[in-house]
């Protein structure tokens, strides 16, 4: 539980920092969408994404490495189907857990509150039925 609180606080600090420094919302699907729309260049969206990777390495180092248990064949199918749906859905709905769920909620956007309630409810229904 301490890890959850500490991790969430770091996520919040990163979102605040991106807004304070660049005036941008830390929405990951939107940032990836910008790279898709404009192509890969050494600009802030690409550097933020590279930072995510470096932060992950640092975190895994702090935690002493992370164990990965490989899924069964059904699990791989769920990963592929889920990936396509998340890729399409987050672009159509203009945001994901970070953009709507953290940043949009934090500025009390009506759109983001509705979107977050929707994807959490549908996600719970899906996971409860499938898993």
């Amino acid at each position: 539980m301490i890890e959850a609180a500490a991790g969430g606080t770091l996520i919040g600090l990163a979102a605040v920092w991106l807004f304070a420094s660049l005036g941008r919302i830390a929405g990951i699907s939107g940032i990836v969408g910008q790279v898709i729309d404009r192509g890969v260049s050494v600009d802030w969206p690409v550097l933020f994404i590279v930072g995510l990777g470096i932060g992950g390495w640092l975190g895994a180092g702090l935690l002493g490495g992370l164990a990965v248990s490989l899924p069964d064949p059904t699990g791989w199918v769920l990963l592929v189907a889920g990936g396509v749906l998340v890729g399409f859905g987050t672009r159509l709905g203009s945001g994901c857990t970070s953009g709507h769920g953290v940043c949009g909620m934090a500025r009390f956007s009506g759109r983001s509150i509705v979107a977050t309630l929707t994807f959490v409810a549908v996600g719970m229904l899906t996971a409860t039925v499938i898993h």
Binding site: G23, I36, G55, G59, V86, G89, M105, R107, V120
Partner: protein, 148 residues
């Protein structure tokens, strides 16, 4: 410090937070989304802390006239609660519940060469490119400002 370095630092702190909180392990996400025995409420704490810090920070920063390295703040302007928003959020919810990944943890995992995250992220890009192709075919549609 330049804006580019600021973005890199922001990404590092965000990626560190996702990893420390355990969100890069899809089984932890599914344990929150799946109702029943073994339900794991940790994600509420992650989101709650992230929300509280962000809401407080945004409120303070918005009193300023401009961010440090740009001339203005760029916030989404749309307020429409329409079929695109609801449909997109619902499709995202289905995919999240199936795979246990949302975009941030998938990127972090792919950089760490977690094969599950790499496969999910490749599929994610396929879906996002597919959306872009469809959107381009909608000749009359105006470009939308993303929420994030």
């Amino acid at each position: 410090m330049s804006g580019k370095l600021a973005a890199l630092v922001g990404g590092i702190v965000f990626g560190l937070g996702l990893t420390v909180s355990g969100m890069t392990e899809p089984q932890n996400i599914i344990a929150f989304l799946r109702w029943g025995p073994g339900w794991n409420p940790a994600l509420i704490l992650v989101m709650g802390c992230a929300f509280a810090v962000t809401a407080a920070g945004y409120a303070l920063i918005r009193r300023r006239s401009a961010p440090l390295f740009e001339s203005s703040f760029r916030l989404p302007q749309s307020t429409a609660i329409d079929a695109r928003l609801l449909g997109g959020a619902a499709l995202f919810g289905v995919g999240w519940g199936l795979a246990g990944y949302c975009p941030g943890p998938a990127i972090v995992g792919a950089f760490s060469l977690d094969p599950r995250a790499a496969v999910f992220f490749a599929a994610f890009l396929t879906g996002a490119f597919g959306y872009r192709l469809l959107q381009r075919r909608e000749a009359r549609s105006a470009p939308q400002l993303a929420d994030g």
